[in-house]
Amino acid sequence: MKVVIVDYGMGNIHSITSALKYIGVDEVVVSHKSEDLQSADKLLLPGVGAFNQAMKNIQELQLDTMLKNLVLIEKKPILGICLGMQLLCESSDENGLHNGLGFIKGDVRKFEIAPLSVPHVGFNQVKFPENSRLYRGLDDKSDFYFTHSFRLQSSSYINAGVCKYGEEFIASFEIDNIAGTQFHPELSQTNGLKVLENFVKSF
């Protein structure tokens, strides 16, 4: 099993690398090279930072075209985490309106939940969707670690997991070969390791 963590220069990849190794993935590669991405069994799109900077880096490395090919045409499984999840969607209004990769229908918008503080940081519960592959073996409303100021909104069916902080928002999606989590599975203890294991085994 080879998982390639897509490297576009943003995000703490230390924990995600050790989490994948911990659950038994024998080959974990961090790369943005076409040949590495091609040879991957699964792709992982991490990310911490600002949406527009991330898209800029992705375009400069021509990862947008590469990923479109691999994910939409070849149907290679991909998991986006936090900002990585947001990048898979259509747009974000972080630092102005910017387009994402557009693989998943939905837009990322800033939380408007005053007087609650933003960012939303900490362990919070996720209500699972029906027929979920990501959450197999976990109890509904399990806890995961979030740290974000922007959240995904979508009116399309994307088999979403739902979290509540002031309002309900999309905590995850899983459609065909594409999955995303707003939370950090690599920082969510055994619950998160289970989600990673499910992605690796069931997508």
């Binding site: 703490n12 230390h14 924990s15 050790s18 989490a19 911990y22 659950i23 503080s117 960012p119 939303h120 940081v121 900490g122 362990f123 919070n124 519960q125 073996g137 976990l138 399990s142 806890d143 670690y145 740290t147 100021s149 509540k164 902080y165 950090h184 690599e186 920082l187 969510s188 203890q189 055994t190 619950n191 998160g192 390791l193 289970k194 294991e197």
Partner: protein, 260 residues
Amino acid sequence: MLRKRIIFTLIYENGFFHQSRNFRLQRVGNIGWLERNYKFQSVAFSLDELIVLNASKGDKDMQKFAQTLKQLVNNVFIPIAAGGGIRSLEDAKILFDNGADKIVLNSALFQDRALVKALSTKYGSQSVVASVDYKIINNKRVVFIENGTLDTGKELQEYLEEVEQLNIGELYLNSIDQDGTGFGYDTNVVEELSKSIKTPLIIAGGAGNEKHLLEGLKIESISAVATANLFNFMGDGLPNARKKILAGDINLASFLDKSL
């Protein structure tokens, strides 16, 4: 529901981990010793977060500390905050590059507020934990910096209000008087401050058993309780404490049984 947290704080000084009492450090062991005797990675499965502080005196060797951090957090799958002696953007970057998800700032909150703001802008306010140590002098809570050795002359409440303006994500409040005593937290402070402080609050200093952790978690305005007590909470101490607390009606995350 957003959960409350139990945090363990590891105190590092010149290659070794320490038990602290009123900020006087007693050497316990190096990282190999910690892993052998306390099975640190398995203890971490009972935690919500880990804080690692470099309390070395004088010129702190950030690279050496970062190497220990990197080794320590391998197979620890919770958010990690690290700090102690961060004096530049480069210092912070070294810690982020070696496994830290957040950084902890203490003396810089008093000595270099431009740095605090720069770090918060670069990494986001959620990545910056403001650590504040205080001691009661003449019935007033006074803030100390430099590992509790330097009196700022500032009263706690006024200081915290200034610190909150620096766009930090959390406040880590440590009572030097209670530190390492095992007598319980200075919970009075929270009642006095909670009206004026809006930032999520971590309380530290004094927890000796799970009743103290529970006492802190029950206070509405406290987001997290921290302990640095290696003797009381390592080994089975922490897993047992968490089990007991979870059995009560406390808003803590529950995690899948460790065997995956």
